[in-house]
Amino acid sequence: MIRIEANDKVIEGKDGETLLTTLRRGGIHIPTLCHLEGLLPSGACRMCVVEVEGQNGLVPSCAFPVRDGMKVHTHTRRATRARKTIIELLLANHPDDCLYCSRNKDCQLQDMAAELGVRQRRYSGGRCIARPDISSLSVVREPAKCILCGKCVRVCEEVQSVSAIDFIGRGSHTKVGPAFDTGLHVSSCVDCGQCILACPTGALSERSSFKNILSAIDDPKKHVLVQHAPAVSVTLGELFGAKPGVDVAGLMTAALRRLGFDRVFDTSFAADLTIMEEASELVQRITQNQPLPMFTSCCPAWVDFAEQNFADLLPNLSTCKSPQQMLGAVLKSWYAKREGIDPKDIFTVAVMPCTAKKTEARTHGMDHDGVPDVDAVLTTRELARIIRMRNIDLASLEPEAADTPFGGRSTAGKLFGASGGVMEAAIRTAHVMVTGKEMDNLKVQAVRGMQGVKEGRVKMGDLEVGVAVVSGLANARKLANEVRAGRKDIQFIEVMACPGGCINGGGQPIGADIEAVKARAQALYLIDRDGDIRTSHANRDVQRLYDEFLGKPLGHESHRLLHTEFKARNAGE
């Protein structure tokens, strides 16, 4: 057993962990800038230094193995001074334009400067004059604000295996950017936004869509509709002081109405629709000997990644559009007709946990009859900003329900927000399609949980289906390579680019740790446990949509509006 004494308090450590992990478990706050949970330490920033008795210099706790009997002092004059100097040096070439920064009041650099009592500019260096990169529809880079901690580079390489960005140059000219220092739009970036979550400063942020949306709301001719994704209602609360895992769907709906949206819909409805199409497609592929395994296609970052790296597996991707796009398409066709509105006068907004959804909405094929399915996408963070800007007090609102005709959702659709949720929802419906009977127990434990790779076998009558769920594109790459090499025991694979799924998406509140992500998932599973309608095929609004408009899953109208195709491409095309 390992026991250490930190600031005269005894803390238990675990074999093989770092001193930082032990100290944090003991409730001691150690500031870090380059540390990334779950990845190897890089030891680049030295913010985490502490004094260990018997060691000469300060030691970086993030890279120092904990040992029994250590005596540690974390906030001595020497340690805090060292940290303060580091921050002061980082600020030497920082633009200091906090007032205008998207991360103002949500910035680790700012917090640490305040915490360490930085009150004046002690060092002054040449400012970085690199201009912002606004080439991507999803991610904005502002290299001038970068402190070169390297977290984005490591997330992009180690978690996503994309490596769109890296350090360029050296010495005082070092910066982070894509090959040839070009715009992100011509790099291999898949817009997942995980780098934004990692960045301690405002050097990385989402491309904002405020203006278009507010103008559309103010335009009396425009009928402005909004949908919100399953993962948003369980995270938005965090930005208003709630602890992780509180579902604010009703309050959010009320707030969206106050903002002036004409109708508020739940994307979970479209998730149910996706399941009807996708489960049908899976059954068809299995019974008609079409390419297997089938990969899900609702994560645009994964689709982009597959188009760049797995051209040979594109026939294995489900042709379903994502729920966001499906709902947009239905709003601008059936709904428009039903309400007697010209689709050109409809403006559809999607509130998403995701940055890649912004690019997806503009992708070729995501339109029909000359109108885009979705006109603008807001992240969870942006929605919180608008709510504040318009002085809406979330807590004082009464919960409201989503609008008809897409108000109903099953809790299976809601599960889309967590890694494994699409799979679980699809299994529930595919089971009925194959056997004609509901599953005895709807819970599919094998696909739940935070692991990056989950596998299981599911019985549907006489049929046994091998399923796999991966999140984090590095895990997806590994599995796709196995499939490429001939692995045959899996028929259905769910991929989400963000570790843990959309609840940890690139558009979500910044600063969540693994416990927070778990709490968000738990919130979704509770909603499902207590739900009345727990399968997509039992969603009456979806049934009605098929009766009145679409006909049957995979039918003619479905193909026209709800399905798409994929094209192999090189980075940047």
């Binding site: 994309v162 490596s163 890296d166």
Partner: protein, 154 residues
């Protein structure tokens, strides 16, 4: 097969530790590292282009634009430094409106910093397409370049 592909073909099964020699060999053939070259090398070594570019930009010896008609190299070796080559470089940058590693839009001039030309007795030294100019003072730079500028105009 392109020239670059021929070069990388000489390193079958190479891993990332061969990156620098390959970059050098490609620059030897092409005169610089083009975008195409970087992606060919990246594919060959199964690295991301951003990694290859990142490594290459760490070293002064690699350039990413083709050389200009007149390639100006300024020595920043120890002897030249002592004799004031920093000021010469500043003067060159100002006169040519180029940073080291860059090539003028019209392709007339390119600028490069080199570690030592091996003519320390003549410091500070600059070379234009291999022609050595010795004992260069910052205020002489414009005159030296003028000769080449005339040739560009002709």
């Amino acid at each position: 097969m392109s020239a670059v592909e021929q070069v990388v073909a000489q390193y079958p099964g190479a891993a990332r530790d061969s990156l620098i020699p390959i970059l050098q060999a490609v620059q030897e053939v092409d005169g610089y590292l083009s975008r195409e070259a970087v992606s060919v090398i990246a594919r060959h070594l199964q690295l991301a282009p951003s990694k290859v570019y990142g490594v290459a930009t760490f070293y002064n010896q690699f350039r990413f634009q083709p050389k200009g008609r007149f390639h100006v190299q300024v020595c920043r070796g120890t002897a030249c430094h002592v004799k004031g080559s920093a000021a010469v470089l500043e003067s060159l940058k100002r006169t040519l409106k180029l940073e080291p590693g860059q090539t003028a839009r019209d392709g007339s001039f390119s600028l490069e910093v080199v570690a030592c030309i091996g003519a320390c007795g003549l410091a500070p030294v600059l070379s234009v397409n291999g022609e050595i100019h010795a004992g260069v003072a910052p205020d002489k730079v414009n005159g030296i370049l003028g000769v080449y500028r005339k040739r560009v105009a002709d």
